[in-house]
Amino acid sequence: MALSVATQAGPRVVLSARGLGKDFSGFTAVNGVDLDVHHSRIHALIGPNGAGKTTVFNLLTKFLQPTRGQITLLGQDITHTRPDKVARMGLVRSFQISAIFPHLTVRENVKVALQRPAGLATQFWLPLSSLDRLDARADELIEKLGLSRWRDYRAADLSYGRKRVLEIATTLALDPAVLLLDEPMAGMGQEDVAMVADIIRDVASERAVLMVEHNLSVVADICHHVTVLQRGEIIATGDYATVSADPRVRTAYMGSEA
């Protein structure tokens, strides 16, 4: 089944891993992971708690150095590249524990992401008002994610679900070629889940998305491709129907339910 991905003609591969592995002082958290993430496709990485999903994200974004294997982003080997450089090359992630700047307002959070691409990050001699020209773009993203009402709130004062939405907004602000989302919908209400699912589907038309998600109905709904991880190794990969029919997946992950 791993074959089907590699041989499939279609959207180009933008991010790929070969034989990816990570040991934590003797304990193997990730082993032999091969992954191909395609442009304009949503790829889900699922698996039980502790399967190694977040660790794979940390390896791909270079927040952790792989023990084994190789990573290629947009045709370039990034196995030994620093994480900030990887982000600048177009691979941007969100975090499982929502990562925001708590004492900044919602708008400032988004603007921090916009500053670097706008070339407005190193000027220590300019007043803060020089950042005003990022307001329009920031407000556009805030609007798109339904956060307009909270634009001037400190991020720390948002509800848990809205913090996650804000994190997605700042991630999208960078307009990345590859988007890695670690459980973007965890802790969200039903409405927000639907909204975020729509947004992910929308933004995936012009970029690749790799997401960890426990909500399987969302995965079934929006993901083109599913990879199942268990104890650090891939046990199945393919479209949702194929994967969910796989007996190993059913016993290991989904239990008895289909």
């Binding site: 927040f63 600048r88 990562a99 900044l104 220590f124 020089s130 950042l131 009402r149 509800s159």
Partner: protein, 332 residues
Amino acid sequence: MAAKSEPIATEQVAAHPRAGQVRLVLLVIALAALLAAPLFLYPIFLMKLLAFALFASAFNLLLGYTGLLSFGHAAFFGGAAYFTAHAVKVWGWSPEAGILLGVLGAAALGLVMGAIAIRRQGIYFAMITLALSQMFFFFCLQAPFTHGEDGIQSVPRGHLFGVIDLNQPLNMYYFVLAVFVIGLLIIWRFVNSPFGMILKSIRENESRAISLGYSVQHYKLGAFVMSAALAGLAGGVKALIFQFATLTDVTWQMSGEVILMTLLGGIGTLFGPIVGSGLVVTLQNVLATSDFPVTIITGLVFMVCVLLFRRGIVGEFCATKLGKMLGFRTEN
């Protein structure tokens, strides 16, 4: 759109609409007081206050606004004092050129020390800066140009821009005041700039800043060098005030003293380090003429302050209702 209920921290006090004007008035009063101060107090004492206030403010740029605790800032303060004193006395440079050399020298030292230390976190960062500044101390002890235990004495104050005679105490005072105000303006701008915004975001969530593509080490190093340069500005001016550059200013005790001043006043506030240094310097001056051991008393004051107001004097004020109404903000 239906308004959803949202848990908000309700005890937040909004700044009064005219808070900006009130702050401006307070600022003008403070400036007027500084302008008139030499009519009532010894200029030399006031200048010492200003030099240490600038030093502590420079230090706070790093601790308060970048979250890095340096235990080696004496190297920049005392080092610049040596550079300025040597340039002015031995090479016959003008005071402004001498101070500029002190600033550049401190910045260069900061670049070297920072580049070595910046990758370390927390206590390791503090220990490496301490170790490096101790190395610099031994260099100053041995290098011939510093004259070891004697220091560089009778440094001439000279004429500012070739015209203003700095040997006149009032001229010197207003020059130091001008340097102090300029130094604070630089800090204020630095903190409230696009760069300052990135520094703030790094302090709030470093991983997130990295994942947005910021090379956080470079930003931290930038702040470190700026802090070192401004500490150097304070040190260079101090050498001209006392006409003396001494080993005392490069000791680890001096690095400790500036930490104490900053914590006492309140880190991450623009005025905290000024108040803290003012308190410590005044205390030292008062106790110098008495029989009390200075270090024990300042240590006790520090302990009491830490127990009573952990945010520092200015930090506590900012957290009061009045402080919030006036729109004073702290960085935590």
